[in-house]
């Protein structure tokens, strides 16, 4: 070959390589980070209740410090009587079908969600009104400090009045103004989403995301086979890092604990038909003793392999939780004294009895959840020396809802960025409301504090009332009061991430539903060529 052509040929070759490397840049991510919502991707029925609805946008979003930030609304204000929210919307927001998102859609979303009876609690909303294309007001029936959470979590859907508007099929075919749009959803298998070309924010790095809905075993196997870019790992198995992946830890307020049935068994049944009450756990001495006996540090070590921290309440470390609500170390001696004082006497079979009733009850956990199984088995072992026979029992979720929810102690988990969850968990008005207050806890003084918190004039004042509900000096739902739960651990969410994937600075995750790691999806970057 003639020498003058060699540099030209080299140049062409390098150009081709450059183009080729551009073409091969990572366009698709495969994620196995949790399950799918049964009701579909419909915000009016609960999708996105913990924020980040992916397909839809919310009026406001949370910053890293959990403070409200502009999202669809660029300005927002609350009237002096704390009854009317006024929000000004951005003018460049469009749904994924290209039509503009207006104040009519926002008003429709809030008014319909209030009637839908989904998980978004809009019972305080009187009416939402569109004043013009970009201004909407939300009128409340009474002041409610936590109403702002609905602005942070409720995804906006297109009004039913428009073409492609909201319908019963929406959950399976969502249209929203979020960063991604749904391409295909094979229920129980996978969800494929692609960039929404009309998204008003920065363009996401990855054109396509594939969410796999696999069980724990399959998720780990696919991670070890290098077939996924992000895989959630149960804490018990998180120490075994697959090759070419990093361990990414997301701090959380996602907790696990034992919810006790608070009422004696009287033969009553909940609306679902599930029996209510348990004579053993209805005794405060049993609940206090269990709280004193469990060694939470050991639980973190054994059940979470160190990926977590002890929990003493539903919102440890958040402003609406009392910092003093702690048990320094397990105290079996004090626990035994409490039981003796309450008339629970130890017999030769190693179990305590009171008036012939053995201190024996089931501790039910979902059999598909390794972490909850380990927590149940270890905590049962820890209270056995006291003479309390807690029997770990694995069941399907359906069975738990049908039979166990209100009569067994249940290994449950909660954790939210909002104190609204405290209201649901401990207000007697929410007794038997799904998993919330499924132990039928009722304490008039706690109810009064919770109501006062909702009607508070400021967040600071509300926080005082939230904390007083936990322990008000004489009573409360917390470990110093009624000990309605034995909170055990706060989880760290552990993910295996492709070593080429930079997921940026992760915030604090709420309870696991809703793919919390995707909250900063727009910051994700691919770092390899």
């Amino acid at each position: 070959m003639a020498k003058p052509f060699r540099p030209i040929l080299l140049g062409i070759t390098l150009s081709c390589l450059a183009v080729a490397s551009g073409v091969q840049a990572k366009e698709q991510l495969i994620l196995a980070i949790g399950g799918e919502p049964e009701q579909g991707f419909d915000p009016l029925l609960g999708w996105g209740q913990y924020g980040n609805p992916l397909f839809q946008s919310t009026l406001l979003s949370r910053g890293k410090d959990l403070s409200p930030q502009a999202e669809l609304a660029t300005e927002w204000s609350l009237s002096d009587d704390r009854l009317t929210w006024t929000l000004i919307l951005r003018d460049d927001a469009r749904f994924s079908d290209g039509t503009p998102l207006t104040a009519e859609d926002v008003a429709y979303t809030f008014n319909t969600a209030a009637r839908a009876g989904g998980r978004a609690d809009l019972s305080a909303l009187e009416v939402a009104t569109a004043l013009d294309d970009h201004t909407v007001t939300l009128r409340l029936q009474a002041p409610r400090i936590t109403f702002i959470d609905q602005l942070l979590t409720l995804g906006i859907v297109p009004s039913a009045e428009r073409d492609n508007g909201y319908s019963e099929r929406y959950g399976r075919h969502p249209i929203g103004s979020g960063p991604y749009q749904l391409v295909e959803w094979q229920e129980g298998e996978q969800l494929i989403v692609e960039r929404n070309p009309y998204f008003y924010g920065p363009e996401p790095t990855f054109e396509r995301l594939v969410f796999l809905f696999t069980g724990e075993d399959t998720t780990l196997s696919t991670a070890h086979a290098g077939q996924v870019d992000i895989a959630s790992a149960p804490a018990a198995l998180a120490s075994n890092l697959p090759a070419h992946m990093n361990r990414t830890i997301m701090q959380s307020v996602d907790n696990r604990g034992i919810l006790f049935p608070m009422q004696p068994a009287s033969g009553e049944q909940a609306a679902s038909g599930a029996p209510i009450g348990n004579d053993v756990t209805a005794d405060i001495a049993i609940r206090q003793a269990i709280n004193l006996a469990v060694d939470r540090d050991t639980l973190v070590d054994v059940a979470l392999h160190g990926f977590g921290r002890p929990a003493f309440g539903p919102a440890d470390g958040l402003p609406w939780s009392a910092e003093e609500e702690q048990i320094a170390a397990p105290n079996l001696g004090l626990a035994a004294e409490i039981l003796d004082g309450a008339g629970w006497k130890l017999r030769d079979d190693g179990v305590r009895y009171k008036d012939g009733l053995p201190a024996r009850f089931r501790l039910t956990y979902p059999s598909s959840d390794t972490t909850r199984q380990l927590l149940s088995e270890v905590s049962a072992e820890m209270v056995r020396p006291l003479g309390i026979d807690m029997q770990p029992t694995g069941r399907h979720w359906d069975e738990i809802k049908r039979e166990a929810l209100h009569q067994d102690a249940i290994m449950l988990g909660f954790g939210s960025h909002s104190p609204q969850e405290i209201y649901y968990l401990f207000h007697s008005q929410h007794a038997g409301n799904g998993f919330y207050n499924s132990g039928f806890y009722a304490n008039a003084e706690v109810d009064a504090n919770l109501d006062a918190a909702q009607a508070a004039e400021s967040v600071a004042q509300a926080n005082d009332y939230w904390r007083a509900a936990q322990w008000g000096g004489t009573t409360g739902y917390g470990v110093r009061g009624d000990a309605s739960w034995a909170w055990l651990v706060n989880l760290e969410h552990v993910y295996f991430t492709n070593s080429c994937l930079d997921v940026g600075e992760l915030g604090i995750a709420p309870h696991g539903h809703g793919w919390p790691i995707t909250s900063n999806l727009l910051e994700w970057r691919w770092t390899c060529d």
Binding site: S221, L237, D301, V302, V378, Q391, T393, H396, E399
Partner: protein, 266 residues
Amino acid sequence: MIRHQPRLRALLSAGITLLLIMGLIASQWLLGDTPQQMQFDARLAPPSLAHWFGTDALGRELWARTLAGLSISFWVGCLAALLSTLIALSLAALAALSRRLDALVSLLIDTLLSVPHLILLMLIAFALGGGTQAVIIAVAATHWPSLARVLRAELLHLRQAPYVRISRALGKSRWFVLHSHLLPHLLPHCLIGALLLFPHAILHEAALTFLGFGLSPSQPAVGVLLAEAMRYLTGGYWWLGVFPGLGLLIMVLCFARLGSNLRRAL
């Protein structure tokens, strides 16, 4: 030598199986709560002199859990095989009473044999809410057809035997003939059938439990141990699956060999 002496082989198999059964029964008393005892400082320890089969994620001794699991499987298998044999015998006897009943029983056998075993097992166990009782009923309700078919054929053959025909000609009732002439002949078949059903029963119990439709995950059943082992397989904790699996294999082989050797001997 032994190969050509069926009775000796049967005796040898019976001896080994008897030893196994005695070991399993004795282990229930000897183990106490060892299978449940946790040692938090010895979690997932590999097999060693201190931990013969290694330990699981909660530091529980795997040898004790394997024995406890085999013991559970043994009792579940025994009860399920016994129930299954009783169902098979009852239906075969019913079939011998009249041609119509015979047709009905045959239809039932053919229908059940045409449905995949495991699916039917899962459906029954799920419908009954899982647990030991549900597994026993599910296994018993699905394993009788093959034995029932054998017993029915044997009964039809026996019905034509001269002494049965003479008995009938003398005016003896059907029940008398069934009770005095037919059933005593069927008992060896029942015994061998039950023995051959047993390995199937315990394998299906383990499979059901492994799939999450059987015994509670808090029981140290073999299926539970194998399901737990699957979760830790990617971590290289091979002993969690190998020892319970081997235990199950040995037990199944013992009973299967005993059944087939007895069949040949008798």
